[in-house]
Symmetry: C2
Subunit: 413 residues, 2 copies
């Protein structure tokens, strides 16, 4: 790169700043057009009785509406009677699972997790809100590198076999946040069968994107809950899912699935906390989605809105950064995110430059525990919220920032 | 009482059993007719935008919808910007307040509550679900007798001044569960001003029946949150409320109010747990209730359904037990419950006899910590769910059981 190239990169950036953009790629939010597809949920006057004749306006029904659990059972790979339907957030359920294990005694444990220092394994890059829950409660986090097949299982197996204070691992097994990785059958099998020093080890299986395919291929993963039970570890797996990125982000329904012993333990806690979830909202979901086929049809309509946005990102990054050696990026077949990798030591600078140009990105490092990406090279792009023209402007601007930071780094080095 | 009287009491009971009743007075559940009054909440096709123009279908808005908080601010005696609107259960909020204080550090505390043995004061009779949360987390419970003015403040003041491990007290200040007691201004003033050995002492102010008047008199209580702040204890009070017994029991909205420091602390936890409450359900409440006057009008309609049931209970108990010396009962001006007091040592026997005759009551003792009513004389009657004819049958049957247990006791003694 020549001095001229640095000069040109600066000029391009100045021109970008001068445009006065105000664009937000920070979070995985559905767009208004996606939400519109679920407006049928708002049009069900008077409905308030379940298939079993229960008045859903009243208290009760802690397990959630059976007919809704039936719609999601296959997608989440959990038998209906081991799957609970709860409130509007699966993050809440993950948080509460940790709280209940900290303050109660999870099946297989000898004592409360709160009574000693514990550690969770965190495949990186991963989901910042998982890490934030651990950090809040003082749970130590040990990063594990992701591979194209999921977490590096050699590392996972070594760590969990050695240390009984390692109590859990965060996994987003399908279209992972942020890489879009799909766990291979071998990875799932090794998670199900590995020996753990902790008898109360738990896999937090956040299957957030179970049905969020971008193409007509419905990627399947191995059935961790069944495999673990089959291999003598029935209580190892906590499955989480939600309809937040299916119907309404703020008014979806979250799911918790696990072994019978874990479900009984879960209900023993939640029965002290609540007299039941909002069953009317669960009924709205049943009336709107109808069945597993209805869910599939709805997801295809969503994919038709989302896929072009992923294509825009790929097209612009290819046009503006392809062959420069300054960046690589993922092309996931589903989920909500694209990971952009820039040269080591550049991610924070790129995000800062983008902010200076009115383009808000998830903070660099957010995909790592404690916000610390040791290579400082991972940037998460959330393309779903903006409409394509805004998205084009944002990604093109982001590419301008990458070129400038790259040129500055080369000039300095 | 003669042998003849015992014989007659047994005959009456046998006749009651022979009727094969199946009636349930266990829980404070709204009746279907009460719920029908809120069916307008189910008839708002397409509504999804807030007064500020926010799309409520999406993530966000952790504090809850401002226009809904404004409707409930006066009723709960909390300024709007210190009042949060959350999910469908205030019990959840109380549970979580304890969890956050166990695992975090509440303002004024030196350490987490989980790190030492702590105690809550429990005015008795009280609400079994409060006690169940404490029991679940191993929090010791110290009973405090209720007086007609609220908890016996001489006892409360002595205990909290002496023991820094006493961290909280459960209060249902208006139309208390189960006695229907209204805290006097002096009681509230003493709660606000008393000296506590614990710098992190909290009053759990469960104002569940703030607007649940049975007559046209809108009983008011003193403003604890304001008084505590005025007297140098701004962070002492956690206010809880909900619309569960106003709109739909399972699909209401719960509220948390407190000092600015406590609200910041609360949000620092809940922001790790959730990306916001179900704001569409909050909007439904706004559209349906409209404003504080709309809330008042709705509560009058509910009172017109509930008041006759309380009158039925009083009428039948008077006719069947008046002057027998076997029972006394409360005549509350609001709330959801009537307390029936039977001779010492008789409550469990009465509840068992009633169960034998197909009349389900809240377990005797439930109104005391650990289910232990030392005098075994308190029975909670929840009259709202059955319609008047069933309620008459249930209360008349209950009176038969009281007479039989009384006669048996006298014959044995």
């Amino acid at each position: 790169m020549t001095v001229d190239e640095l000069h040109r990169a600066r000029q391009e950036y100045d021109a970008l700043v001068a445009r006065g953009l105000k664009l937000d790629l920070t979070r995985g939010k559905p767009s208004p057009r996606q939400l519109d597809l679920a407006n049928g949920m708002l049009e069900q006057p008077g409905e308030h009785v379940s298939a079993a004749g229960v008045d859903l306006r009243n208290y009760g029904g802690l397990e959630g509406l059976p007919e809704l659990r039936a719609i999601f059972a296959d997608a989440l790979q959990v038998p209906v009677d081991q799957l609970l339907a709860a409130g509007n957030s699966s993050l809440e359920l993950m948080h509460d699972a940790i709280v209940f294990a900290l303050l109660g005694v999870v099946p297989g444990a000898e004592r409360r997790w709160a009574d000693s220092e514990i550690t969770f394994l965190c495949p990186v890059p991963g989901y910042d809100r998982h890490f934030a829950v651990c950090e809040r409660f003082g749970i130590k986090m040990a990063p594990v590198p992701m591979t194209p097949d999921g977490p590096d299982m050699d590392v996972v197996e070594r760590l969990v076999a050695a240390d009984p204070q390692i109590k859990g691992i965060w996994c987003v097994p399908k279209y992972s946040n942020p890489d879009g990785t799909v766990y291979s059958d071998e990875t799932v099998h090794r998670l199900a069968t590995m020996e753990t020093a902790a008898p109360d080890f738990r896999i937090f299986w956040d299957n957030a994107y179970a049905v969020h395919h971008l193409t007509d291929t419905e990627t399947a993963i191995a059935d961790l809950l069944a495999l673990a039970a089959e291999h003598g570890h029935p209580d190892r797996v906590f499955v989480f899912g939600s309809s937040s990125k299916i119907t309404f982000a703020g008014s979806g329904v979250a799911f918790f699935g696990s072994s019978p012993a874990n479900i009984a333990w879960w209900l023993s806690h939640t029965s002290k906390r609540s007299i039941g979830p909002d069953k009317l909202n669960q009924l709205r979901h049943v009336r709107f989605l109808r069945d597993a086929d209805g869910l599939r049809t709805h997801m295809r309509k969503l994919a038709d809105l989302i896929r072009p946005k992923f294509e825009v990102v790929d097209k612009i990054l290819t046009a503006e950064l392809g062959g420069t050696g300054l960046a690589s990026w993922t092309s996931p077949a589903g989920g909500y995110f694209i990971t952009l990798r820039v040269p080591p030591g550049c991610a924070r600078a790129v995000v800062a430059k983008a902010r200076g140009a009115g383009i808000a990105l998830t903070p660099a490092g957010a995909s790592h525990p404690y916000g610390d990406d040791p290579d400082d090279r991972t940037i998460r792009i959330a393309p779903t919220y903006p409409e394509p023209p805004e998205l084009e402007a944002a990604i093109s601007g982001l590419a301008t920032c990458v070129r400038l930071v790259g040129a500055e780094k080369q000039a300095a080095g």
